[in-house]
């Protein structure tokens, strides 16, 4: 039976940002930890600068979170592992486990198998980087001991509803969104580059005689779908942004907190939207762009 509540999950990359998003209303936080074996890469699915800098800071975050009843999910969701990196990965995972994190986010099948073999009993969440689009893969991940699956950015409500009967918790993305399938995308950015690649999937390209942002990442939004997502039984709504401006993330978390609380109090999507527009006028710009993740738009119409 799914709970008729939906946690708001927010990113943190330092003690300060953790306190900020918890204060703004997050029910859960997720974070990675820097690792000195790498110059720019990491095992957290993000590069340098997007992760908590030190183990002692992670411990401080866990302590503060638990005092406030907040769960800490530890992102060890590297989409790539190798025999040579396994020992480093084990140490990295154990650092989080020893710091008291509440769940592991894992992005690689072999890593999921390894964690179970190590006897770690923490809940394992299957990362978005595993590209779990269907019930077949959910069954596979359940057989590996996953207790929650993070669904890909581009799923429609009917599909989420179908998957909600699979007996596993579902987490989906609320704000922002990659345009490509995460676990297959090699347009790597925010991984410690020393050159300014920007966001390749949001760039302008010369194509077919036009200049066009054909790869179409954008500021996707899901506030109008919150009542439906709660009704379906989605267990967590995730805000991305481990590498983003902390003030912006705080403000987004605040808006989503208010919207979820209104939905839980029985307000409809129109009232929820009005609230967001009143609280944060820049939301009007998002509405005008019609980038509603779980409604019918030109983007969702293009789903294969």
């Amino acid at each position: 039976m799914h709970p008729k509540r939906m946690n708001l999950m927010a990113p943190a990359s330092s003690y300060q940002t953790a306190v900020s998003v918890i204060d703004a209303g997050a029910d859960e936080i997720y974070l990675g930890l820097e690792n000195q074996n790498f110059a720019n890469l990491n095992l957290s699915g993000r590069g340098r600068g997007c992760n908590v800098p030190t183990l002692s800071e992670l411990e401080k975050i866990v302590e503060f979170s638990h005092k406030n009843g907040i769960q800490v999910d530890y992102a060890v969701n590297t989409p790539f592992l190798s025999d040579e990196l396994e020992e480093i990965f084990i140490s990295h995972v154990m650092a989080g486990v020893d710091a008291g994190v509440d769940a592991l986010i894992i992005g690689e099948l072999g890593a999921m198998h390894l964690v179970r073999e190590l006897g770690i009993t923490l809940p394992v969440h299957a990362s978005v980087l595993l590209n779990t689009f269907n019930i077949g893969q959910i069954e596979l991940l359940k057989s590996f001991g996953a207790s929650k699956v993070v669904l890909p950015f581009k799923m429609d409500l009917d599909e989420i509803r179908m998957l909600s009967t699979s007996g596993i918790d579902l987490e989906i993305f609320g704000q922002f969104g990659c345009s490509n399938i995460n676990g297959t995308c090699h347009l790597i950015h925010s991984a410690g580059e020393s050159i300014n690649l920007g966001l390749p999937c949001r760039a302008n390209y010369s194509v077919g005689g036009r200049v066009h942002p054909i790869l179409d990442a954008g500021t996707d939004c899901s506030i109008c779908s919150i009542p439906d997502l709660i009704e379906i039984g989605v267990s967590a709504l995730k805000i991305v942004g481990r590498g983003m401006n902390p003030e912006m993330i705080r403000s987004i978390v605040q808006i989503y907190r208010g919207c979820i609380d209104l939905a839980l109090a029985g307000y409809d999507s129109g009232a929820i939207r009005d609230y967001a527009l009143t609280e944060e006028p820049f939301w009007q710009l998002l509405c005008e762009q019609r980038r509603c993740k779980y409604l019918k738009t030109y983007v969702t119409d293009s789903y294969v």
Binding site: F133, G136, I138, I188, I195, L197, Y205
Partner: protein, 276 residues
């Protein structure tokens, strides 16, 4: 052996002629790695002459198409085509469907080298880390064992130098895609949006690739467009878009030691370019 692959089924006769005219040890592949709407009708597979080996490529499969694709795979299996090779790009399909001789496609087998600027990303890492990353995800023995347990009998990779070298170390059948390496798949189809079309009505729009040349980066500081500087221009290649799949070109040609090569014929609207 070389496989000529297409998801434009009006080209099958042309491909068969190419194979006959060139007197090649060649097979034919049909299907798509990324788009469920490009699966060939079953009668297309059944109609391919039994003088050539046939490969069926099944795509990454969103839930709303899952039952249909599972049924389709079973139907294809039941055709009784000798040595039919089924390439699977979705772990859910691999786990759920009974497939006689599955090969893991590029939707499942990844390589860091498919990042156009991988050497920049790895520039400051130790040799140990760099070497560890420049492999396929199946070079991790746990992942490889899991996929073998799920029945895979071969893998497909991009013909990129360090990827090929790593894949050969697996001591497992390896099939390499010539010239075009997959950079990303998308569910929200870039081609459909560009032409203001909706799948599946757009299927005719991706029978040949579009070239994407970087014009302006989207700068994350200013949240606005800016011209790329020379360093970015140096690492950012022309991208190629075919349907919902983004490719980059590779001029690496050494396929020695792999068990087969694959040419995506749809990337070459003019067949004379393929076999002049």
């Amino acid at each position: 052996m070389i496989e000529l692959r297409t998801s434009n089924y009006s080209r099958i006769e042309e491909i068969m002629r190419l194979i006959e005219d060139a007197d090649m040890d060649a097979g034919i592949g049909v299907g798509s790695e990324g788009c469920v709407h490009k699966l060939p009708p079953i009668e297309v597979i059944a109609g391919i002459p039994d003088t050539v080996c046939v490969t069926l490529v099944t795509p990454i499969t969103p839930q709303k198409h899952f039952d249909r694709v599972c049924a389709y795979v079973h139907e294809a299996n039941d055709l009784g085509i000798k040595d039919l090779r089924i390439v699977v790009n979705d772990l859910g399909i691999l786990y759920s469907c009974e497939i006689a001789h599955p090969v893991a496609g590029r939707g499942i087998v990844h390589t860091s080298e498919a990042c156009p600027w991988v050497d920049h990303i790895l520039r400051d890492e130790s040799d140990y880390v760099r070497d560890a990353y420049l492999q396929t995800n199946l070079n991790y023995s746990r992942t490889f064992a899991l996929l073998k347990d799920m029945g895979i009998e071969g893998i497909e990779i991009d013909l990129l130098p360090r990827t090929v070298a790593a894949a050969k170390r697996l001591d497992f059948p390896v099939y390499a895609h010539l010239e075009y390496a997959v950079v990303a798949y998308a569910r929200s189809c870039h081609t459909a949006r560009f032409y203001h079309e909706k799948p599946p009505a757009c299927a005719h729009l991706c029978n040949s690739p579009m070239e994407l040349e970087l014009r302006d980066i989207f700068d994350l500081e200013s949240l606005s467009f800016a011209p790329p500087d020379i360093e970015v221009k140096n690492v950012f290649p022309v991208l190629y878009l075919l349907g919902n799949t983004i490719y980059m070109k590779s001029d690496y040609e050494d396929a020695s030691g792999v068990d087969g090569t694959i040419v995506n014929v749809d990337m070459y609207p003019d067949p004379d370019i393929l076999f002049p």
